[in-house]
């Protein structure tokens, strides 16, 4: 029962990381590499879960979760939050690009000011 604290800490930490990175400006290569490593880890985790379900359950017990499927669900929720974050980021960056482009087009097409 008391080992439940482990998964709670892990999940809260993961959600906090999502929240915190949302507040920070996106980093460059390191940020991207980190995201890819996380994705890779998630794939390994998923394969392990498929190949050896009992392994997942043992891992779940270790961190204080009743069943392996529950642990999988938790991981999925965190991964989903990360997905939301990264698409939010991409949208914001795309919007800035579009804004700059539209402004340039608007200014290039703008009539000249009236001559005094």
């Amino acid at each position: 029962m008391s080992s439940q604290i482990i998964i709670q800490v892990l999940l809260i930490a993961a959600v906090a990381v999502v929240g915190w990175t949302m507040l920070r400006s996106p980093g460059g290569a390191r940020h991207q590499a980190g995201r890819r490593l996380l994705t890779l880890a998630f794939v390994v985790f998923a394969v392990a879960a498929i190949v050896a379900p009992s392994l997942l359950t043992r891992l779940a017990h270790l961190v204080g979760v009743g069943r392996g499927t529950d642990l999988l669900l938790y991981a999925l929720v965190v991964a989903f939050l990360f997905q939301i974050l990264s698409s939010f980021r991409r949208n914001a960056a795309r919007e800035r690009q579009i804004t700059r482009l539209a402004r340039r087009v608007a200014l290039d097409d703008a009539p000249s000011p009236p001559s005094p």
Partner: protein, 238 residues
């Protein structure tokens, strides 16, 4: 370029036209009123640039009929984006020493704007911000007042400027201050952003008491209080 490099226009008499400042008016679907607003404004400010933010009605044609130079966004981007485009137009295409941000729905007074330009000139200020709370009672509901006061307090806290009204659309900005602006908040959160960027210039400024005409039209078009939540999210996350 410093303001003194601008066209050497003589200081106009208090009621004469202001020829050393451009009005910058972001415009989005305001066809019913914009022609009158611009025609009236041009009696005091002959130089007006309206940035049509991809309106789907006759706004652009009406603004042109009112006598404004119309710059058209090819698609709707938001009021902040339109404001930045107007500022860029004044900086790139004119050598005016001042620009004035002004709303298209007719809630600002041109005479207030002219007085603010005069104050900027006389007191050598880089920007003058309108405030509806500096003088006398204003016809603002208690909840809206609370939100505006909170926004002003937050802006004061983050910028170190003592502000009474952080979301007033009437501002006079001198050329050197305008050149340091780069608004990235396309939507309504630009009001907080512009204050922050102006504060960062460290140039002299002050607030100026202005009147806001809350007509039925402007009330209907005005921001709902729900929008303050959107502004907060925009400010935090993008």
């Amino acid at each position: 370029m410093t303001p003194s490099d601008g066209p050497q226009s003589p200081s106009p008499a208090p009621d004469g036209p202001v020829t050393d400042a451009w009005l910058v008016i972001p415009l989005y679907n305001e066809a019913p009123v914009v022609r009158d607003v611009i025609a009236q404004a041009r009696r005091v400010f002959p130089l007006v640039v309206a940035v049509d933010d991809g309106s789907v009605d006759e706004s652009a044609a009406q603004a042109r009929a009112g006598g404004a130079v119309v710059v058209r966004h090819p698609l709707n981007l938001g009021q902040g984006a339109a404001l930045q485009t107007g500022i860029s137009y004044v900086l790139e295409r004119t050598d005016a020493p001042y620009l004035v941000t002004f709303d298209a729905d007719g809630q600002h007074s041109v005479l207030d704007a002219a007085a603010m330009v005069r104050a900027a000139r006389d007191e050598d200020l880089a920007f003058v911000l309108g405030s509806r709370f500096l003088q006398g009672p204003s016809p603002v509901g208690w909840l809206k007042r609370l939100v505006l006061r909170t926004a002003a307090a937050a802006a004061s806290h983050t910028t170190g400027m003592r502000l009474t009204d952080a979301h007033n659309g009437l501002r006079v900005i001198r050329r050197d201050a305008a050149a340091q602006l780069d608004l990235r908040q396309n939507r309504m959160a630009h009001a907080s952003e512009i204050i922050r960027q102006l504060a960062a210039t460290q140039l002299p400024w002050r607030e100026f008491p202005v009147h806001i005409a809350y007509t039925d039209y402007s009330r209907g078009k005005g921001q709902s209080l729900w929008n303050s939540i959107n502004i907060l999210v925009d400010l935090l996350f993008s």
